[in-house]
Every structure is written in structure tokens, then in C-alpha cells.
């Protein structure tokens, strides 16, 4: 697998050099691989957002290095290119939407890339189509639901045609439909458009759809691997203050009671399949 983003011994201090200096990241070495969906979890204050903000040079390391396709983020001349490769979506879409009409908002990024008009229109169309937002094209962002606003913010980033999109808790303030639609679209961008995704979240039912997960604690990486493997180490995970998916908890309980259940269940559908097999074998 090719590395798209690589951090080497990344340390970051807020208010560096003052008496209020706080170490937010402590020698973090990790990779984001091309084409994967990587979930980043961890308690509030564990360093998730600080790490994510290094991926497109919004922050640069106090010590260590971050490379995006081999380009060092500490090198000022690289920043423009890096931000074309890695786009960023924030928790609150109101901080990200700039125009009074949806399609103008989505055009904002491509316009700033200095693209010809025809190309801008084509990209806006493509972004709207890809995320199933065509019906919102001429709406005013303030008339949209929070979920729709977040989708428009994603479309704005998508129109820049990045290779990687980093989403910082994009579903934290959404209602159930908003959460589901954002998640579905993000998964689709990965599977159908091949866009690498870094997804910061507290919701374990979102994490289970990702290829790999990272658990942060006190500015370091505490665990990493496929969700199935991480959720098996449930006692370790509890110490980090994170949840276990509902299906895993029930499977674990049934296993303890002596039923023949697979130990690697994280999805509801897997648990149902497994129970149905058990039912037909009795």
C-alpha cells in the first residue's frame, strides 16, 4: 500500500515557547494509506483534531515531520500543493460555508484554483451529482438542515478534486438522518471515487465501516488496526473511554454464556447471520 500521508515523530505544542505551553501530540508516527478509510477516535482532548490539522498543513510540527505524497508540510512552498491533495471538513458547517447560494459555495474552491469557467461548472455539477445534492443547487445554505449544510461543505471540498478528505467529527451535531446520509456519502466517495478518507468520530457505529482505526490517548497513538481487531480487545478499549459497538457487546455476552458465537463480530448484520445459523443448527 502506498503512503499518502506520513508523520514521523510528530510532536506539537500549543502556545509553544510560552509558560502556558501544552504538548498536544507526542512523537506520533503513523501513515494514511492511499485509498483507505481511516477512523481516528479518542477522547476529547486526546489530540485527534491536532493530528488531523497537520494533514493539510493547517498546523506544522513543533518537532518531527509530516509528508503528504513526499512533500514536507513544514516547507512553505509546498503548502498550496498539499492543500490541493488533502481537503478538510469541519464539525460545524457554518464555519465552512461562505456564499449565499449552494452552487456558488461549491464553486468557491475551484474558482480559487484559477480554473477556467467551463471546468468550474463541470466540477460543481459533478460534486452535486456525486453527493445526490442536485435538488439543493439554488438553495440558500441558511435554509438547509444541519445535515444538508454538512453535505454542501463536503461538496465544496470535493469540487477541489482532492485525493484525500479529512473530516473532523462531521456528524457530531446532526440528527439521525443527517448522520446516516453523511456517512453513506463519505463511504461512497471512498468506494466509487477512490478518495482516501480520514474520519474523526466518537460514534462506534461509524467506526465499524472504516478499514482501519486509530485510538488516540494523551497525544499518542494507543492502538491501531482494523476495527474487528481493536474491538476484540474490549477491556483495553474501555480504559481509553471509548465505546464498544452494540453487536460486539451482545456477541461477547453470548460467548461468555457458552454459545457458539464468532468472536469477531462488529456489525449488527453479522450478529444476525450468526444467530440465524445457530438457530438452524439446533
Amino acid at each position: 500500500m502506498r503512503k499518502l500521508i506520513e508523520t514521523i515523530d510528530l510532536t506539537y505544542h500549543y502556545r509553544s515557547g510560552t509558560k502556558d505551553e501544552v504538548k498536544a501530540l507526542d512523537s506520533v508516527s503513523m501513515n494514511v494509506f492511499q485509498g483507505e478509510i481511516l477512523a481516528v477516535t479518542g477522547q476529547n482532548g486526546s489530540g485527534k483534531s491536532t493530528l488531523a490539522r497537520h494533514f493539510n498543513a493547517l498546523l506544522t510540527p513543533s518537532r518531527g515531520e509530516v509528508f503528504v505524497k513526499g512533500l514536507s508540510t513544514s516547507e512553505k512552498n509546498n503548502v498550496k500543493e498539499i492543500r490541493k491533495i488533502v481537503g478538510m471538513v469541519f464539525q460545524n458547517p457554518d464555519n465552512q460555508l461562505v456564499s449565499s447560494i449552494v452552487e456558488e459555495d461549491i464553486a468557491f474552491g475551484p474558482e480559487n484554483l484559477g480554473l477556467p469557467q467551463a471546468e468550474i461548472i463541470e466540477r460543481v455539477d459533478w460534486a452535486l451529482r456525486t453527493l445526490n445534492l442536485e435538488s439543493l443547487r439554488r438553495e440558500a445554505p441558511h435554509n438547509l438542515s444541519e445535515g444538508q449544510k454538512q453535505q454542501v461543505a463536503i461538496a465544496g471540498v470535493l469540487a477541489m478534486k482532492p485525493e484525500c478528505i479529512v473530516l473532523d467529527e462531521p456528524t457530531a451535531h446532526l440528527d439521525p438522518r443527517g448522520r446516516r446520509e453523511v456517512l453513506e456519502n463519505v463511504l461512497r466517495l471512498n468506494r466509487e471515487e477512490g478518495i482516501t478518507i480520514v474520519f474523526l468520530t466518537h460514534f462506534m457505529n461509524e467506526v465499524i465501516h472504516c478499514d482501519r482505526m486509530l485510538v488516540m490517548e494523551n497525544g499518542s497513538i494507543k492502538m491501531q488496526g482494523p476495527p474487528v481487531e481493536i474491538f476484540r480487545k474490549s477491556s483495553e478499549l474501555k480504559n481509553t473511554g471509548l465505546d464498544i459497538p452494540v453487536a460486539s457487546r451482545i456477541a461477547e455476552g453470548l460467548l461468555r454464556e457458552g454459545f457458539k458465537i464468532r468472536a469477531d463480530i462488529i456489525h449488527t448484520e453479522e450478529l444476525i447471520d450468526c444467530l440465524c445459523q445457530l438457530k438452524s443448527s439446533t
Partner: protein, 288 residues
């Protein structure tokens, strides 16, 4: 001290060309000591409705009675209403405004013109109720608090006014699982030990299912359902049609029932689910 809502209608920008009605003919009663969940899609009117409970909104059409006091009565003592019905906003940054934790929480009692010793006592008690350490955090800079601590400080500020009713507007949004569980434990304790009426607005169906005894579902500014938690989540087709979901556990149970498992209705927690699945499996083994 119940809340009674009678034929309540509400429009924003009333009397202008931009007038938009957001609440339609709402009627409900919330009794003392209840734990009521309010759910609904974004912009359904949940918050607007709840802000009528402590006179942040005054009805133009219809009325709201808090402990018999009509909030639109010109003689009504709205300060007392707002002390009785505390409102905790979703975003603690909108609520916290003083430089330190102690000063912020003391704001309410100071406005009640209580003597200094009494104010300090109330601040201490409020911090204790939400699990904030008085000694170490009283002088702490508000900006130095974590997300979860900020929510607790916001709740403490409201508790210091000794409300009998607490409205919590999506107070766990954006918190990590442990932070969320801590806040929920604080809320449960306030309800059980002090019998404070809780009105709990949330976007998390799992949370509402685990906390509330009764649920009011709002959609398009109307009360769509108002029933016990179990009965509301049994109407999942309707809930899904307005963009809500079931608690994760209920989804699993529903699908297992469809696959032929004999499981009781109304299961909302992991423990109940585990227990009933394991008995169903044992029963099948026994029949073999």
C-alpha cells in the same frame, strides 16, 4: 409544579413578509418528577417549544402555564419562572460568560441578592451535584475546561438557582463516550435523588431510550407522538419516515424477530437484549 401548554402556536418574524410558523396547536402537560425525552429532526421545533417552558419565548397564540403562572400575563413574575425552570443550551459557550468557573456559577445566586455565605454554599452544592471539584476548579479559567467539564459547569450554573425543572437541549452532542456517560449519570442522579423534572432533548435515540420514561416526538412543528418510551419506539416505521431512527438494540431485535426468533417487544437496552436472546436460544436447544 407542572408545565401546561395549551393550543400553542408560534411564528418567527410575525407580522413581516418573512413570517414563518414553526409551532402548530401544541397541547401537553409535563408533571412534577417526570423524565420526558423530546426527539425530532433538526428544525422540527423542539428547541422553540422547549424555550417556551421558561419564558424565553412568550406565546402570542395559546398559552403556557408554569406552576399555574401564565407566562404571557403582564403581571407574571418571569424571573421566578426562569429560576424554577432551568435551561441548559446545547453549546456551553453560549451559556458560560464569566472568566472563572466559580464566578459563572455564582451569577444566578448573586442576582437573587443572597448574602455572600449563602451564594458560596449554593455554588459549592451545585459544583458538587455535577461532579466538579470545588477546591481545584472554583478559580479555574473557563477556557481551560474540557468539553465535558464545560457542560457540567453550564449545568451547575443553572442548578445554583435551584430549579425544580431542568430543560437539557442536546447537552451531550460532540462529547466522547465517557464524557457523555458522565453527564448522563449526573442527570439521572438529579432526577432520582432530588426529584427534579427533566426535559431531555436529544438527537441520540440510544440516549433517549436509556433515560426517558416518556417521549414526545415533534415533526414539522406538531406533536406527532406523546407516549411511553417503549410505545414510541415500537412505531419505528413512522419514526423512520420522518428521519429518526431506532436505538441500535431495537434495530437488532426487530430484525431477529423477522428472522423468526421469539423475542418480546420493547427491548431497549443491551442487557435486556442479551438476556432475551440467550433465553430464546436455550429454549430452542431444549426443544431439540
Amino acid at each position: 409544579m407542572p408545565i401546561e401548554v395549551i393550543n400553542l402556536n408560534h411564528s418567527y418574524k410575525e407580522g413581516t413578509p418573512f413570517e414563518k410558523q414553526v409551532l402548530f396547536d401544541i397541547n401537553l402537560v409535563i408533571d412534577d418528577g417526570e423524565f420526558v425525552g423530546i426527539i425530532g429532526p433538526t428544525r422540527s421545533g423542539k428547541t422553540t417549544l422547549a424555550q417556551h417552558f421558561n419564558a424565553l419565548h412568550i406565546p402570542r397564540r395559546g398559552k403556557v402555564l408554569v406552576d399555574g403562572v401564565d407566562t404571557k400575563d403582564k403581571q407574571a413574575d418571569l424571573i421566578t419562572v426562569r429560576h424554577r425552570v432551568g435551561y441548559v443550551f446545547q453549546n456551553p459557550d453560549y451559556q458560560l460568560f464569566a472568566p472563572t468557573v466559580g464566578e459563572d456559577i455564582a451569577f444566578g445566586p448573586l442576582n437573587q441578592k443572597l448574602p455572600g455565605s449563602e451564594v458560596e454554599k449554593k455554588v459549592r452544592e451545585a459544583m458538587d451535584q455535577v461532579g466538579l471539584d470545588y477546591k481545584t476548579l472554583y478559580n479555574r479559567d473557563i477556557f481551560a475546561l474540557s468539553g465535558g467539564q464545560k457542560r457540567r459547569a453550564a449545568i451547575a450554573g443553572v442548578l445554583a438557582c435551584r430549579p425544580r425543572i431542568l430543560v437539557l437541549d442536546d447537552v451531550t452532542a460532540g462529547l466522547d463516550p465517557r464524557g457523555r456517560e458522565d453527564i448522563l449519570a449526573v442527570i439521572r442522579k438529579l432526577h432520582r435523588r432530588q426529584n427534579i423534572t427533566i426535559i431531555f432533548i436529544s438527537n441520540s435515540m440510544d440516549e433517549v431510550a436509556s433515560m426517558a420514561e416518556r417521549i414526545i416526538v415533534i415533526d414539522g412543528g406538531r406533536v406527532l407522538m406523546d407516549d411511553t418510551t417503549k410505545k414510541v419506539f415500537a412505531r419505528f416505521v413512522e419514526l423512520r419516515s420522518i428521519g429518526l431512527e431506532l436505538p441500535e438494540v431495537s434495530v437488532l431485535i426487530d430484525e431477529l424477530q423477522q428472522a423468526g426468533f421469539k423475542l418480546p417487544d420493547g427491548i431497549l437496552s443491551v442487557n435486556e437484549a442479551l438476556h432475551s436472546i440467550s433465553s430464546a436460544l436455550r429454549e430452542m436447544e431444549a426443544q431439540k
